[in-house]
Structures are given as structure tokens and as C-alpha cells.
Point group: C2
Amino acid sequence: MKETEFGYIKWIQKHLKYRSDVIIGSGDDCAVIKLPDDNLLYATIDTIIEGIDFLSDTPAEKIGYKSVAVSLSDLAAMGGGFERRYALISVALPKKFRKPSFTHNLFKGMHRICKRFGVQIIGGDLSATRGHLTITSTLLAVRNKLAPATRSGVSVGDAILVTDRLGGSILGKHLSFMPRLEEAKILTERYKITSMIDISDGLLQDLRHILEAGKVGATLDEVSIPISQDAEKLSRQDRKSSLYHALTDGEDFELLFTAPLEEAMEIIKDKELKNTPISIIGLAQKPKGIRLCTRQGQITRLTPTGFRHF
Amino acid sequence: MKETEFGYIKWIQKHLKYRSDVIIGSGDDCAVIKLPDDNLLYATIDTIIEGIDFLSDTPAEKIGYKSVAVSLSDLAAMGGGFERRYALISVALPKKFRKPSFTHNLFKGMHRICKRFGVQIIGGDLSATRGHLTITSTLLAVRNKLAPATRSGVSVGDAILVTDRLGGSILGKHLSFMPRLEEAKILTERYKITSMIDISDGLLQDLRHILEAGKVGATLDEVSIPISQDAEKLSRQDRKSSLYHALTDGEDFELLFTAPLEEAMEIIKDKELKNTPISIIGLAQKPKGIRLCTRQGQITRLTPTGFRHF
């Protein structure tokens, strides 16, 4: 579930009691259920909403693409290698969008990403709404071998890694990003990944989830943070630093993960991962909290939400 | 998927191609997937929206209850006896509802029905919306023996049956109905049920789905249609007949099903089903179309959508 301001989710999670067939319940990127034959079923649900996750004039195909991609990113964060993937998609459609050209393109975008990742659209629901366009997708996947890559498991000394470059997603990437399923598959099959999450709320926010689960802190290395061109572009527009954008912008949908340092050194040299740059951005350490080692060698404390140091 | 006016769903279904592990895709009450060990996974998604499926001042607990109950009703329509049931629930919350008292009661309603039917809430999503309160629930269930009860399979001569009484659901039942999972279990385990659906769009509409799938017609028997007290009450208010309400009102969430006549005669005598009245309301016949044999013995043709004969 997403982080929110009203304490709702923690209250709910406290009230949920799970049977033993629920391996992972609410609180990670996906739920994981043990099937009768010990295969694992992964499930996640995500909603995108007009005016918040996309604009009223965003092209329908991009909206459709994003609606499925966000859930696929959650799936990637649990590790890749899923044999069978399925989607159920529910669309609440306001009157202004009820034109065949819109709905067909919406479906085209969903279909494009589903085809790319072998996802079968097995069901859906279409309702009229007087409110905003709202699309909810549930992704299901079955996997039979690997243990899930969860948010918890990081230890002091582990390297913190991230795929690709960060920040400025609002300029376009949030509608066209590629869920990191293939990278996650290689990472989890070949290496000891101690924790993993996808970056939806921003690097610092999502790193905080991993660190809190592992009861550790971290020091990030300013020169190692991979900053995207769009973060640079945004920085020129809004006078915030590009580093600020890389650390706090949401919806990058890159993988943020940890591994023992020696594994991390192998990962960044893995030739099969060379299409997606992977960076070691810091180390898990005591004490708790997130620190930054600046370009000048100074240590600054970063607050996960505010971050007004730059 | 729900019926709609814009031909969207049929267009999509035409474009969906399924692998062999998808036993039932889009177009029935649930999708059905074959798991690696031949167990079957049932999945359905449903959305309820403020101003359409409930009012802005509907008590939160009732909204929460309904959000899960509609999906459980879809599950019932595939037959009962599911061993393991799971829910993922996504809530798009407008500002006016962001009070702990509302969200807690919303969850209470979800939790109450989940507990009643052994459903584990394994995940969710909570988003802010500037539009209307919108709740999407996905229900998952695993079953290992019975073939699913689908919408197709009715033959000429089969009896048409329905649980409980129909019509006037808008007066309250649509927020408090009991999904017919236990009845469905007994029906599908003991009897040869040739087709089954839950009544969400109204008896005539949903009967049409079954008849079209089986390429048959039907004659209903006016005196046998079980009319609810709320249908009578509505009738006194709006001058439409109570029969009209029983035949066309949506959201009764009762089971509509067919069985060979000799099976049907056993069903209505089954003592384990005595808590829920079951009625034989007509017979599947050639030619296509739905006819009504009136109290006076006349045969009238019923149109599934309009029905302005009464």
C-alpha cells in the first residue's frame, strides 16, 4: 500500500490476521500466497487517477500503459522470473471520455505492455462515473522456485543499489517507464539480494521503507547518485538542485535494492545487465537515519520527507 | 464485465487471445486460471462508485460491506466450495471522507463480510482523489475439484431457478445482501447445474446472458416469480407493477441458474437449502427470446431492456 498522511493503512494492518497460507500480506510491494502445491501466487493492486497520476489531456494510450505498468513494477520489486502473469483491470469512465477513439486507445496501451510482458488480461469491469477517470489494475503471477524479494532483509554493510537514473519523471517517464521485470529476474536468480522495492514515492521515501524494515541506517554517496537528464532539466526550471530531484521525485519506478558488497561488485559488472545501468549509491550502516556524503566529503543528514538542505 | 452502452467491452474481448492456462477469460462472472498443479484459481474485479452504487451519505460500514460483497457474489455465481479466498482492495478517497471515523468504519464493513466468508485481505491501495469515492475489490479463490459453473450450458427443457425474492433492492438490500456462496456450494456439489449467474443487472438482463450463451429462449411463469416486499413497496410509490420491479431491478445479487427439470424438483425440496427459498420460475425453450405466461394464461413477449408491458 502507498504511504499516506492519515494513518489509515497502519490501523488496518494492525487489524489483519493472516492464515499460514498468506506468506506476505499487506505491507510489501505484492502479497504472496502459498498455493496448495507450494507454488507461490503474487498479487498486487494499484489505482491511477485523473488529475493526480495523469492529466485530463494525457493521451489515452499512455494512460492505459501506465495503469498496468505500475502494477508490473510492484511485481518486479518481488523478483522476476514469473511463469504466468495475469491482469484484471477496472475502469471508471467519466462521460467526457466515452468516445470509442479514447477507449480503444486506452485498451491499446494496456494491451501493448501486457503483450510485452506476457500478461493475459483475464477480466475487467467498466463503470460510468461522475467523477474522475480512475483505473485499477490487479496483477497476478505464479512462480515456483525462488523466495520472494521483500522489503526486509538488509544488514549493516550491505551495498544500496539502484537501476538507471533518477528524478524528473514528471516530464514524461512516469507515463512510459519500463517495469524492471527482466532486471529483477537476473538479479534475484544470480545474486543474493537482501531487500528490494520499486521507487514510487521517491528514493529517500522508499529507501526509508527498506531501512526501517532492516532496522538500519544508510550513508549515500552524492557523486554516485545517478541523476537523469530530466532531473537536470527540472532543476533549471525550478531552481531546486538536480540531486534534490533525484532523491525525492516520485514515480521513477526503478528498482532500489541491497546486496552484500561483494555481490554488488559483481552485479555492476554483469554483462547481461548492461542495457540498464546499475549504480551502487551507498551503504547500509548504523545508526538509523539517512546521511549523505557530499561531493566535498561532508556528511549531511537527510530527512526522508523534507530534504531542504540543497 | 458489466454491460455498457458503448460497445467497448465486446471490442476488447475480440482482441484478447488466451493461452491454454486461461480456462475462462473475460465474459463470465469470474476468470478461471489453471494453476501448475491443475487446481483452479478464480478471480474477479468490481468497482463501486459514490453517486452510482451508493450515496454520499451512505454509512461507511455499508459501503465497505458492499465493496467486497459484490465480488463475493461473482464468486458464488461460479459455484461455491472454494477453499481459500483472498481480497485486494483499492480505495480512491476524496477529501471530504478523510476522517478516521469514516475510514475505520469503511474498513469495518469490509472486514465484517471478509470474516463471515473466510476472506483474507492480502493487499490494497489507498489514493487521494479529487473525484468521487471509488472502491475496487479483487477477489481470488482456489478450488481443486469441481468444474466452474459458467453462464453457458443451458439446454431446451431445463428449468430456470432463482434464490430468494426479487426487486426493490434499491430500498436497502443492495447494501446489505448476503452473497450466495453457501447456496452455490450445495447446488453445484449435489446437483447438475447447467448454467449460473448472479443477478446484478436485473433478472431479464442476466437471464438474457444465460439464454444467449445457450442459444435458447425461455418462458417465465408470472405466478412463480418471487416478488420481494420491497418490490411491492416501490410499486406503491412509482405506479410500476411489483412484477416489473422483480423482473428488471438491478443489484438483487441472487443466483439465477438452470438445471434439468428433475434436478430442479429435487433442489426445491432440499432441506439444507430451506433457509433460502428457491423458486422454479420458468423453462428454457425454443425459440429465442423471453416470454411470460401471465396469471391469466396469456403469453407475452418480454424485451430484456425496456419491458413496458405492465
